[in-house]
């Protein structure tokens, strides 16, 4: 029985549910205590001990049906113990023939068993021993070969790919040209959306935990005299309980400028999703989208549900998508209308491919923006090799940015934003500046010596 549970747990782990060894021991003990007479009972027991969050329930149900449903799904399964022993037979069958293979030579018995499709009656062990020949009746994927070579040879492995060393030819067909012409981008499928949301949710969870730790470490350490006395009033002002000073919660400020033209639409949609999730607790964000014109969407992000807003943007309701990208114009407009209203010294994140369609570059304005902002991060989906191809102005804009990163996919983008938020909370924007492109430098915190040294601050 332990083996069945272990195999079931292994299957659950393959499907993405983390089950610890302690929990599988609990499951075995619980099954022993509760008994396995009824399938519903056993399912309940396994669910209670192995599945520890609601998200995993669905996967658990499917895996349970698959694993203990057995071969012939039509047969009613009232008896889990029976089903368990059949599964045992399945697995044993596989293992059994693996032994065969080891004992013999290369042409020993090879058995390919598909757990789901097999009917256990076909895999009666005694039949395997006796006949040992090809048994090609039962399931479509069952073939046995033994030491005494009989029947066809196994097929050669199929050729999957051809790796040549010759020159690579790219056909300039419609699809390829379409990519360069910036049209025909497919919208996100619901699965992609769900996957993106999952990535963001995980990142936010991680960040929240770390941010809380970082914040609490920052604000401890200094006594608040008034509050301590107030709290200890009933102890006659003897400070049995001390109250520490809490610094006001200050969220880092970020300004995001997203290019929503077709070439960058995937990345910008993800960026907006990211921003929308982060602004709820972690960041103070002002978000703008641009193509040729620039528009602020912070209030939309806060109030509208995200998919509605993305649809609105796609239709061209916020910023016209018919124009060609014009970064110079965007910078000018941003400086005229919005630069003064930026509070503090926010980090400005620009997401775009810097393809300017041969318009004016206006890079001095980017310099002005950077002065006002304090930190400019440019995220581009294109590789460094294509920065001097065509109308890309990345190399022109690069000197005016504090950091330029290439983001090719969702993971990289979320990693960069996560790093930014962590650094901000750890040591302010300076920490992010000093963290080079090689990755996060250890966060430099300023050490404060205790009062008797006069409150002198010492940089490590």
């Amino acid at each position: 029985m332990e083996r069945i549970v272990t195999r079931f747990v292994a299957r659950l782990r393959e499907k993405g549910i983390g089950v610890s060894p302690g929990e599988s021991i609990d499951a075995v003990r619980a099954l022993a205590a509760a008994g396995m007479e009824r399938r519903a009972d056993a399912k309940a027991v396994l669910q209670l001990t192995l599945v520890k969050s609601l998200r995993d329930r669905k996967t658990f149900d499917e895996t349970f049906e698959e694993f203990f449903g057995g071969g012939a799904a039509a047969r009613p399964r009232g008896d889990l113990a029976g089903a368990g022993s059949e599964a045992f037979v399945d697995l044993e069958g596989r293992r059994r023939t693996a032994d065969h293979a080891e004992k013999g030579d290369k042409s020993g018995a090879t058995l390919m068993v598909d757990d789901q499709m097999m009917d256990p009656d076909d895999l009666a062990l005694d039949r395997l021993e006796e006949t040992g020949g090809d048994q090609q009746g039962a399931g479509p994927r069952l073939s046995v070969q033994t030491q005494r070579y009989r029947g066809e040879k196994l097929k050669e492995p199929k050729q999957v790919n051809n790796y040549t060393q010759g020159p690579i030819y790219i056909s300039l067909d419609e699809e390829f040209l379409g990519k360069w012409r910036n049209d025909g981008v497919k919208p996100f499928t619901p699965e992609e959306e769900a996957a993106m949301e999952e990535v963001v949710a995980r990142m936010v969870r991680r960040l929240k935990k770390d941010v809380r730790q970082l914040k609490s470490r920052q604000t401890r350490g200094r006594l608040s005299v008034i509050k301590t006395l107030q709290k200890n009033y009933r102890h006659g002002m003897v400070p049995f309980v001390k109250v520490l000073r809490r610094r006001r919660k200050e969220r880092p400020r970020v300004v995001v400028l997203c290019d929503v033209s077709y070439s960058v639409s995937h990345a910008s949609r993800f960026m907006l999703l990211l921003v929308h999730t982060l602004q709820k607790g972690l960041l103070d964000v002002r978000s703008f989208i641009f193509n040729r014109e620039i528009a602020e969407v912070s209030s939309l992000l806060r109030t509208m549900p995200l998919n509605l807003m993305l649809e609105l943007i796609d239709e061209g309701g916020v910023v016209s998508l018919q124009d060609n990208s014009d970064f110079g114009h965007v910078f000018t407009a941003f400086k005229e209308n919005h630069l003064e209203s930026l509070r503090g010294r926010p980090a400005v994140i620009i997401l775009g491919d810097a393809r300017n369609n041969y318009n004016e570059a206006n890079e001095e304005i980017l310099r002005d923006i950077r002065e006002r902002a304090g930190y400019v991060l440019w995220l581009t989906p294109e590789d460094e090799t294509s920065w001097n191809l065509g109308d890309c102005l990345m190399n022109t804009y690069r000197p005016y940015c504090d950091r330029v990163e290439v983001v090719k996919n969702v993971e990289e983008l979320s990693r960069i934003v996560e790093e930014l938020v962590r650094c901000y909370y750890g040591g302010g924007p300076d920490a992010f500046r000093s963290a080079g492109p090689a990755g996060m430098a250890p966060v430099a915190t300023v050490k404060r010596l205790p009062w008797r040294h006069g409150g002198v601050t010492v940089k490590p």
Partner: protein, 302 residues
Amino acid sequence: MPLSTVEQVRKTLETGGYIADEVIATAVFLAARMEKPILIEGPPGVGKTSLAQALSGILDLPLVRLQCYEGIDEGKALYDWEYGKQLLYTQLLRTQLDTYLDGASTLSEAVGRLAKEESLFFSEQFLVQRPVLRSFRSEKRSVLLIDEIDRSDDEFEALLLECLSDFQISIPELGMIKARQKPLVILTSNATRLISDALRRRCLYLYIGYPEVEREVAIVRQRVPETCEALAAQLVGFMRKARALGLRKPPSVSESLDWARVLSILKVEELSAKTIVNTAGTIAKHQADIGRIHELAMAEFG
């Protein structure tokens, strides 16, 4: 022992006024047998706290309740020292202390003498037993209900981990206090925040969602016996549709029970649009929700 099989657990819970389904009964059975805590998650009002209360009722065990909130710490959950009482006693015994310390010639000797009597002031008399310690020390096995643990923070969970795995508390002045009888621990959570994995792994995880039709009808009929079968079925059917509306606060089982009581007070035999409109306040707790309940009532019965 009324908890010998799962089926018996279910029947015993039913006599205690709690209609449980398979999973809940199995969870209770395993928790009692394996001495593991149960972590119950689910929407508010589905019977998480009342499970603990029913258990303590049917097994005749004292219920010790710890309500968690943001910022709860060891002093409120495990134990605390009564500083005020210690100070007071010191003041009152001052003359006695003087005579005791009389013979001491040097300050260090006086301190030494006083240190010998330290255990006086950090003794059981000055120890305030908070819920967890109280449940560990009770003579009979108790049911420890830690309510709404998702409102507390990570540090509190880390504290609880230690207590719940070994069922012992270490008080520096008094030493290690082991539980006389391991309590039956039930943690409830409204899932407003994710409980840490370490705590989840220690517990059996039970999710109580909105019940199926039969179970809800049985619950209504048991708690509000005046409700006839037909009315209960109508009521539950309407509630299920209301839950699918996506209201700001979806009505749960406790709203069903309240509504059943209201209807029995009003002596209503059958649901109609007018009745629902009049009693909408028991089902919906926001103005916008009341509007949608009215619409649904019109659509169903109007």
